[in-house]
Amino acid sequence: MRLAALSEDVLTKVLPVPATHTGAMVKLLTCGSVDDGKSTLIGRLLWDSSAVTQDQQAAVLHASHNRAVNGERIDFSLLLDGLQAEREQGITIDIAWRYFETPNRRFVIIDAPGHEQYTRNMATGASHADIAILLVDARHGAKRQTRRHAAICDLVGIKKVVLAVNKMDLIGWSEPHFRTIEEEFRKLALSFGFTEIVTIPVAALTGDNVARRSSTMAWYDGPTLLDYLEEVEPRAEPLDAPFRMPVQLVLRASGDFRGYAGTVTSGTIRPGDRIVDARSGLGTTVRRIATMDGDLASAGKGDAVTLVLDTDLDISRGAVLSEVPRRPINADVLEARLVWLDETSFDPEMGYLLRTATDLTPVTSMSVQALIDFESLAATPAHACAVNDIADCRILLGRSTALDLFRDLPATGNFVLVSAIDGATVAGGVITWAQSGAPSVGDNVFVLDRALLARGLCSDLGDSPTDRAEFHRRAQEAAILLRSVGVPVLVEI
């Protein structure tokens, strides 16, 4: 059957079907607190669905025998923990990517580490996933790290979550116990934007309800994990989403060829459509959608194409091409929720760059408004933010850039924050509010200077390092507030 798919008639190249059409590929994340059995669950899933080759099986059997951590049983986590340090310490440090396919679809499994220390790797994995399998140990229920992982899944845009209540064998396969955990999780999940939560009682070590229906938990009549994964629709995309294509490169070739190369992040485009560069407001018409396989009649979300325009726009990498009616925001002030990934905490004095789809914009100032409390999951006022925190921030940019709100268009509404000093990715975030601020600095600019601030807003502050930092923070904050209502501001302190 697979071979038939390769025959000539099926492989017509120019098909007006976008690359992300259908549930052909489902990306799964496994996450949850340390020792709740993530790697074991995935190892079991791969083992039971015959995605493990004989030599890999032999290697795992051999290593399990040496470690004997699970008594006589096979140590399935060895299939995932590919780094020497992971095998030595029996923990997962970085995400592992595994692939397997059933006749219907390709599964990409991203196994995330549970340790708080490796949250940055979990966040990396989560951002690539359509569906999260969140594990809890049936003996303990959701822990602080489980809630943190759930919050990160929510932040990066995951809508469907499987709560896998693992190690059911260790609580005597008890339904009341399972129902309590399920109820608690549904309550805490109200803080998030998940659209579908499925709860499955499993035992990864024995394989109950993973790929094989459990005979010991007859009270459970829902799907097994594999059944669910085979059926689930990965992501619902609105059919009428507005067209966006962030420009990656301007391609030039002989014969005066000039094209704008990029991946369509939402909507569709056809030759003859009017488009606009969101930043400059310049508009034109699409003449061709050029690819090496010939021109396309249309391109949609996920397609990597090159647009040839009727009149060349003076734009380069970082521009976002858009449909005319529903354009991105040409923003220089924004609010965002982000997860801090770097071991060095947020420092308002540091230089940061905002990396959006293809643009890199200097951050003029940034302030933390609130942190998520991983006990209550509420946002609580704060001014600092450190590694593994989820924070709400306000960011002022050195120049405007084209953005969307993440909840509307995720691919043009997300960003990473980059250290201007060493290039490190220090945070990943989503835009919750954005506004185009003042026009470029001119005669009407309001100057926030030291004397002005010292008279009022900062009159309680002295000359200690702490007070000076607070002085600076308030100045930036005042500037952001003023700019957000359209007053052009220059900070001179």
Partner: protein, 301 residues
Amino acid sequence: MTALTSHLKLLEAESIHIFREAAAQFRSPVLLYSIGKDSTVLLHLARKAFWPAKPPFPLLHIDTTWKFHDMIAFRDRTVRDLGLDLIVHTNHEGLARGINPFDHPPSVYTNIMKTQGLRQALDAGGFDAAFGGARRDEEASRAKERVFSFRAAGHRWEPRRQRPEMWTLLNGRLGKGETVRIFPLSNWTEGDVWRYIAQEKLDVVPLYFAAMRKVVERDGQLIMVDDDRMQFLPGEQPVMRKVRFRTLGCWPLTAAIASDAADLDAIIEETLKAKVSERAGRLIDHDQAGAMEMKKREGYF
């Protein structure tokens, strides 16, 4: 369109996106071209990413002088037909010391002729980014790689300190002394590579197709006698067997498999049903525990 052809289209678009991000962000990239099926797909995707322009970077082949003769012929023909720039580098220091795959353990030979050779070539060319055809499904430590895989000074991979890589946002800003390896085929599987080769009608080295070839059986592995540098062990007699290769490397260290798969359809069927993993035929991976991770830490791609 079936589910499977649609996922190939997704993978293709993702790889093109990666090529373009890299070309836009790095000063001087190079494509590590090792002639095999993965390199063939990698090169094809690079051409698509920049078409109608040519890929804005040269190809680099690390020639250990022990590649199959068919591979070198295929390499030269491909580069000529497509009008591409190719840099061929050999670690002449290693060659002068007589390093070879028969007299030295695979780990020593690979380190000197491949890893050191690669580091020499990257340093000499001043390249800050190198594309490679590695896939995450190949091996357990590769399953842990980022798409933009940063290397500290000396090309060292530090698996415990990988840079976060969220969504499709590829941050290519380099710290002091850093370079990057880029893996556009990260999410492809061996099956995908073959299905794509069939779909795009790409030429591959004939050694991938089953044919009668002169081999010896050694420790359960079939080693092809590619030229008269072969060192036979006492009692070893070459025999003609119908074999093909699942991966291609240095001929004394790359085992063939007994197979009748003589065309792409047969290869795809065989691949999807395979009961052993692809790199089982790579003798260099089994020399020591965690061999691939060690090679990568030393700078192997």
